[in-house]
Every structure is written in structure tokens, then in C-alpha cells.
Amino acid sequence: MTQDSKPTPVLDVRGLQTVFHDAKGAWPAVDGIDLALYPGEVLGLVGESGSGKSVAGFSIMGLIDPPGEIIAGEVLFRGEDLRAKSEEELRRIRGIALAMIFQNPLSTLNPVLRIGEQMTEVLSEHGHDDPEAAQRLAVESLRKVGIPAPEERIYQYPHELSGGMRQRVAIAIALLGDPAVIIADEPTTALDVTIQGQIIAELQKLQADSGAGMIWISHDLGVVAELADHIAVMYAGNIVEMGPTDAVLDHPRHPYTLGLLASVPGDADPGAPLRQVPGNAPPLSRRPLGCPFHPRCEFASDICRREMPPRATDDVGRSYLCHHPVSQRAAP
């Protein structure tokens, strides 16, 4: 990622490594990732299940519980390393300056509290003592995410709302503190396409208005293509390719990115076999030696089986981890 004319990143992650412990050892779910997020920018973090994309998001938030452990790296938020903060300091930063939106809003909302109570609770946690002012803020925040009749909604319980409305409430809560960084972990995956469109539209508008940086974690290349300025593709705990959206999607260098793009039935002739990535992603405890993608890679050679490729960069500000990068001319 180039840094020439851009301001300093609001979030700068360096060498972040998160492992999960079991009786047999420590397995790296996130294996030393670097990424930078600038204000007002959307970074799409793409990968399949088990790739470590959600663990990366949780690690940035400092939300890793045993048996997981962040063992290395820095998470610089506005220049300060979050990993050096105490849990108390972190709690104050989370929810105000650094917010997260989860895939399943039902698991983040308290089922026995009315919507308004959940929101004023967050506000009082962050020092808003006047209950009436807090209520006004809650109503305002719900209105901003497109909830009709927010004055009435604050008296409802989560189960009274539809899936789309619940996700809006979760977003409204995340936005209460006017965060500088939003980490959205598959926020629309559980929703229908028309509702997904609504939520993305709202988030896009809110993020553009506030100038926050956003990391959008998703398995859906289509959604990320339409939202993101930069894309990072994760495989087996590594960011195997990262760069400007157009470069990554139009001229992928990593064979896995190419394979993912070809797996989406978009340009293929109807009824023709899709170009598929063979095999399955390796489980955490059985990551292969060398390049983690080599058992599924059509270009794999001896060196791929022995050595992890070094990170290479090219002149469009893209980086990739591959011994045999896809030729620039081969468009997907």
C-alpha cells in the first residue's frame, strides 16, 4: 500500500499473530498480518471460512479469549499500540473510537432489554449521565440508520424486530460513539439481498459522512468489490494478496485470488463447468509446509512445497505472497 499523498493511517497493523492453543500445541489462526487503514477508506478483508479473517478482526479489537492468544505484533490505533493498553483502557476505546459490527445481531443484542435501554446503557458506560439526553441520542442514532418511527422502536425488544432491523440497531449502537474505525464482520451475510442492499447503502452513507475507516470482512467478493477501496485476500492465516480493488480483482497475481474469482458464476457461459479450486482449505492444525496454498495450486512447484514465499510488491501498490505469480496479462 503506498503512502505518498495519503495521511497517516488511522489503524496500522504490523505482524499480528494470533494462535489457538490445544493439547498438541499452538496453531496460528492469524499468521503475522500487516495492514493499514486510512480515514474514510473501506478495506475489504476477503476469505473463506477458516481463513482467519474474523480472528483478524477480533484480534484488532483485542477480543481474543483463551484458548486463543495474540502472541505477536502491533495494533497501532492513531499511533498508539492497543496491545500495550490495559483491559480497562481498551474498554474505553472500544465502543467509542473503535467499533465492531457482527454477523448475527441476535448474539450482540441483549434479548431481555428494550432497544432504548441497551443504547442508553452504552452511553452511560461512556459517560453520558443525563438519561433524557441519552434517550435523544439513541433515537437520533436509530433514525440515522434508517429505522422508521425510532421513538417507538426504543420501547421494543430485539425479538420484535426483523433481521434487517436488528442489524440496523446493532449498527446504531456501534455508531453511538462516532467511531474512527468500524470493523464490520460479515454484517449482511445473514440478510436477504434487498435488505443487504439497504444496510450497505446506510453504512456507506454513514461512513462517508463521518470519515471513519472501515474494515469490511466478507466471503462475498461481489459485495467487497462494490464497497472497498482496497482488498486484502486471506488464506490460511496469511494475507496472500492485498492492493487497490481494481488491481486485485481485474489482474490478480495470486493463484488463490484468481481461483476465487473464477469460482463465482458471473462471466462463465451458462451451464459450462466453472473453473474450480480443487480440494479444501487446510484445517488449523494441518497447515502444509511452504506456501499454505500449494496443495490446491495449479502452479505449485518444489519450492512452493519447501518455502513460504516472500512478500513481493508491484508498482500499483499491491503486495502478494507467491513464488509463481499469475502473469499480469492473464485477466480472469
Partner: protein, 354 residues
């Protein structure tokens, strides 16, 4: 409402008679109600009708599936697509209307003819985790349908068929003694497909069979479905909310909204020229890797509750093209081109004569 529905159904019978249907539905409906509570039972005994809410999940569907085709059935959650699929697979009875398999009404089938239908139409489910018994080995999961329906087969024959089914879906025969938890999601879905295929069906109802899988695994399973279709001349009902998958797989597409089929068209025509405003909305909302930094402009509102469907056209509260009559009058299904029907007042004058 009922009346206009029935006239709509009556009209369409004249207009479309697809050649050689394997399965056809006429005015097929499904209503769900809850059990009456004690007070309501007492009211009934007194000769009064208690007001128990009725959920009309599928409303008067007329549809034929042609032999050898892939019919895509698309809609959002709660639109009734899975209920319709289950009725077509014969695992959920219809509340009203008729289902015919190979020209014979299913309700009247007995004996061998009934068994032919039961085995001839099989289902592949969405969730490869909950649709396989975790305590059964793969071999016994696959052998079970044969043990029930084919008592004439010896143990050796069943063994051979299980191995053949595993090979057919691309699984190693050495996996036969494993349990479902030892497989990945994609492999489990292959087991689900093998279980459906083992009784040699003609027609598969596939209910979101790839929705739970990762992108790279989705492509593998799509390819498997395409292969099997070619090899066995299968007919599919492919239920999905993913229009790009349906575009790739299906020959014709039916769009469902709130229990009704609102548009039916050959796939290429539907994607080139969607007619119903709901179809257009869906097409606009599919994210695509070819679109960059799009400003999403969303359709308003949410799917209305099927317990209280809006009067008139079910889509009118969300429709960008709604006219005054849409909130009053149910649009009738009209054939606007050969093989294309749409239920929308915008096309009231476009019906072609047949």
C-alpha cells in the same frame, strides 16, 4: 382475494401448456395454522368459527417442470420457495390444488405408482450439517433408502450401490465407514447428493444446496450438479436466493414473492429483460465483482408478513412503479411472450393471444 386468485389460475391454464411435464402443479396452495387452544375448540363445538390466524405460505401456484430442465426458483427468505419445493418433493401435503407426476395426480397414487413417485423425486437440503444423522456411518446413511424401498436387493448389491454412489459424487469409497463429522461442508453436501441419487430418481428438488458452502467449494458442487444432470438426464428444481448461481444453472427461472410466482421466463430472457418490478429490484441488488464503488440505492421496506399480506398486488408497498389500482386489485398472471408470464398491472394490456 380468493376469488380473484382462482380466476387468475383459471385463465393461465389456457395460455401455457408446456410439452412433456415431469411434474405439474395446478392451483397449489399451502396454509399453515396453529392448533386451536381450548377456548377455540369449545367455540367450534358451539358451532362458531374461531379466528385462528392462517399463514398462506404458498398461494395458488400453477407451474410445470419440463423433463430434463433445470428450473430455478428464486425468492427471499419467507417467500414460500422451500414450502413449494417440499410439496413438490411430496414430503409436505398441499392444502389445496393438485400435483401431478408423470401425468398422474399424486393424491390418487397407490402401490407401485406411489413408490415410483416417492423414489422418483428426491430432495437435497441446504444444511449439510443437520441433514445427516451424526451417529450413522456414511455407508449406513446411503444404504437406508435402499433397505426401506428395495427389499429385493441383497446386502452385496446394496454394498456395491453405496460404493458406486460415493464414486459418483467424487468421494473416495474408503470413506464409507466414516461419520459425518469427519467431513468438510462440501463433502457432506456430496453425501447428501449421493443419498438422493442412490434410489435413481428422475427429479431432484435442490433447496439452496450450495448456500452454506464456501465460494471455492460452491463451484465444485455446482460442477457436480451439472455433471450429474448430463449423465443421468435429471430434472432439477433449483431453489436459491443467489441469482448468479441460478443464471448459471437454470434453463428457466420462476421468481417468487410472498407465496406467489410473480414472473416466469427462460433464464437468458429474464436476465436480459426483467419485467416484474420485483425481478428488476432483485437483479439490481446482486453484488457483482464487475461493479466498483457503487452507491447502493436500496429498495424500500421489507417483505410483509405472510400472516397479513397487503391487499392487491403483494409487492405494491415496496414497488417503485406502483399505481393506484395496485393496492386494490390483484394482478392476474399474463403471458406476455411465448414461455413468459408475469403478474403485474404494468402488463395488463400486453397479453398475447394463443
Amino acid at each position: 382475494m380468493m376469488d380473484s386468485q382462482q380466476t387468475a389460475a383459471g385463465r393461465t391454464e389456457v395460455t401455457s401448456v408446456p410439452e412433456d411435464p415431469i411434474l405439474s402443479m395446478r392451483n397449489l396452495s399451502r396454509v399453515f395454522t396453529r392448533q386451536p387452544v381450548l377456548a377455540e375448540t369449545l367455540l367450534k363445538l358451539l358451532g362458531r368459527t374461531p379466528d385462528i390466524p392462517k399463514l398462506r405460505a404458498v398461494r395458488s401456484v400453477d407451474l410445470s417442470v419440463r423433463r430434463g430442465e433445470v428450473l430455478g426458483l428464486v425468492g427471499e427468505s419467507g417467500c414460500g420457495k422451500s414450502t413449494l419445493g417440499r410439496m413438490m418433493a411430496g414430503i409436505l401435503p398441499a392444502s389445496q390444488g393438485a400435483l401431478a407426476y408423470e401425468g398422474a395426480e399424486v393424491a390418487g397414487l397407490r402401490g407401485t405408482a406411489l413408490r415410483d413417485f416417492t423414489l422418483g423425486v428426491q430432495m437435497v437440503f441446504q444444511d449439510p450439517y443437520s441433514s445427516l444423522n451424526p451417529r450413522q456411518r456414511v455407508a449406513s446413511i446411503l444404504a437406508e433408502p435402499l433397505k426401506v424401498h428395495r427389499p429385493d436387493l441383497s446386502r452385496a448389491e446394496i454394498h456395491a450401490r453405496v460404493d458406486a454412489a460415493l464414486a459418483e459424487v467424487g468421494l473416495d469409497v474408503s470413506y464409507r465407514d466414516r461419520f459425518p463429522h469427519q467431513f468438510s461442508g462440501g463433502q457432506r453436501q456430496r453425501i447428501g447428493i449421493a443419498r438422493a441419487l442412490i434410489v435413481e430418481p428422475r427429479f431432484l428438488v435442490c433447496d439452496e444446496p450450495i448456500a452454506a458452502l464456501d465460494v471455492s467449494i460452491q463451484a465444485q458442487v455446482i460442477n457436480l450438479f451439472l455433471d450429474l444432470r448430463r449423465k443421468h438426464n435429471l430434472t432439477y428444481l433449483f431453489i436459491s436466493h443467489d441469482l448468479s448461481v441460478v443464471r448459471h444453472m437454470a434453463d428457466r427461472v420462476a421468481i417468487m414473492y410472498l407465496g406467489e410466482i410473480v414472473e416466469l421466463a427462460p433464464t437468458a430472457e429474464l436476465f436480459a429483460d426483467p419485467k416484474h418490478p420485483y425481478t428488476r429490484t432483485l437483479l439490481e441488488q446482486i453484488p457483482s465483482v464487475r461493479n466498483r464503488k457503487r452507491s447502493f440505492s436500496a429498495v424500500k421496506g421489507e417483505l410483509p408478513s405472510p400472516l397479513a399480506p397487503p391487499p392487491g398486488c403483494p409487492f405494491h408497498p415496496r414497488c417503485p412503479a406502483a399505481m393506484p389500482q395496485c393496492s386494490v386489485e390483484v394482478p392476474q398472471k399474463r403471458q406476455i411472450a411465448p414461455g413468459r408470464t408475469v403478474s403485474c398491472h404494468l402488463y395488463d394490456k400486453d397479453q398475447i393471444s394463443t
